[in-house]
Amino acid sequence: MSQVKARRELITGCVSVAHAIRLSDVDVIAAYPIRPYTGVMNAVAEMLGAGEFDAEYLVADSEHGQFEIGKHASMVGARAFVGSSGVGWAYAMEAIVITATNRAPVVALVGNRALDDPGAFGTEHNETFMTRDIGWMFSWAADAQEAMDLTLLSYRISEDPRVMLPSAVCADGSFVTHIKYPVDIPSQEQVDQFLPPYKRSSALHPDNPFTVAPQCNEEYVFETRKQIDDAVRREHEVVLEAHKDFSKIFDRQHEPFLETYMTEDADIIFIGIGSLALAARASVREFRKRGKKVGFIRIKRFRPFPTEELRSLLKGREAVGVVDIDFSFGSPNHGGVVYQEIRSTLYDEPDKPPIVNFIAGLGGRPVTVATFREMADITFKTAERGKPERDVYWIDVRV
């Protein structure tokens, strides 16, 4: 067990997640290389080699193999960690689905990356969104500190007996995975206070023999789906509790679902996910100097979706600009994924604001203050008109 005290270091998102893995006494790690998440596995290998903690570390044959290894380690009661990016996450998808349906509380790092072809290493959120329906929890880090904190929180929430479902911590490729940030690394004692051991009542073991994951057909599948739905509905409460404990011990992560930046008196609200928060906050301050009451909401937890929180925050506003670092071709209004979820969230709300969607940052093209200025012009006009001129704008694209 690591005896290292709490300290602050300038490290990348990948390395900070590795610290969380070390501190969480993870038992099995399955690795496979793909940018930009690979750094976490490099760092874990170094820590194991130096004796900083003990675990079985497997270099898998592929992402599918990697996630299968993690799932099965979890099924015998071992705490497991895996991860991937972009098409790697897509390649693992069969195993990803079944990790949830088998209620294995595996934690994964997704280093968000654009899907092939053409190849690109930059941030896009689609690979994560492709798995949004199947029972994984998703939280999104804005910086390296949050990446580590969300990993610790993920083990706690996933392994809670009321939940028993896997979690992914999402970190924007390059912007969070690779950029160094001052990170407060907790001590082992602090983490031990927060994170109880993983106890799996149905763990495969000769002392308690039974058949796991039989063929069910129409007889029982519907019922198992309902069980997962029930568990997911319980997540909200478990998330609140975990964050309450976390913030008591570490004095961070006070907001479990959303970051709200200058939203109290805002007429215009921008919504986004991940590292664009930096540009968003700077833009909000700039607009406020110009006399515009703008606020920003960052969705930290995407599944379970914070529906009630967002509904009460967004009602009555003059306009809402939803920024999607993703695409959903052929969807209603051809809008992005977050746009669809926000519209769905507000459907029943009598006092719902006009919503305009921005597809931005695809392939890792940076979303900057300049990008926000362009989006703001359109959103201010939307507020004046009472409805958007166009539902969806592709910002910063050269055609």
Binding site: A31, Y32, P33, I34, R35, T38, M41, N42, A45, E46, L48, G49, A50, G51, V59, D61, S62, E63, H64, G65, V87, Y91, D116, D117, P118, G119
Partner: protein, 303 residues
Amino acid sequence: MAGVPEDEFYASGHRTCQGCGPALACRLVAKAAGGRTIFLGSTGCMYVANTSYYSTPWIAPWMHTQLGAIGSAAVGTAAGLRALMRKGKIPEEKINVVGLGGDGGAMDIGLSSLSGAMTHDQDHLIVLYDNESYANTGIQASSLTPWGANTTFTPPGAIEKYRVGNPRHKKNAAQLIAAGHPEVKYVATASIAYPQDLISKVRTALAKGGPTFIHLLAPCPKGWGFPADKTIDIGKLAVETGMWSLYEIVDGKRKESYEPSDLKPVKDYIRMQDRFSHLTDEDIEKIQEKLTLKRKIKVPAPV
């Protein structure tokens, strides 16, 4: 060089490291196959460091395929061409199909695809360019990384369990393909340090028709830790120490291409590469013993 065509089908326009073995592999294979060829490349250095838009080194049609799909890409392409020609939709002619995959892509994630490709009677050649790691992602261990190699997933650690670095032994791709696939028409090992041998093998494979396979050693200065001007020397040393064998398998029979009369000690090869710098003399002795034993019972390298 005698017998080597002058035309290039893989020219400048890539951005590989100085001394890159796989880039030379592509150049030689392309020369051998010629311009009436469709080349396929799975994800790796010979994709990312080759076809960075908007330049390309390929003077022949080339397409990217997924990391684990080199076999499927070759079969799909070959089947498409065959159907179109048979049905008269395109003119009948010999169009080579050559798939180039790295060791990680072809023998780890793509093993299922590669093996499957060796079972169908379609005309293609798959060249496994082996730089003994996932090089493009910054040098991680694959199942073709030799025992004791330092990679970012297998860094030599202070504690005994992790001391040697890579704990796994190199799989033998040529033997696996040849022994296990009755449909395969030609299997060979080759090295970029022996270009005439390589060119001859590529042409033999393509002339045979059916599924064919070449396992090609392509040393990597960055991954293996040797100076960029020593790539050919390292390639030769691999063969001269017995760490790499050059042979063909046709109709189940193995034919050696070149056998050094006196083998140099394995130590000469190992000590030239930084990735092994943490290995003790004892470790190297172990490698030598294993190699000598396998040679005695005629098991071809890699062992």
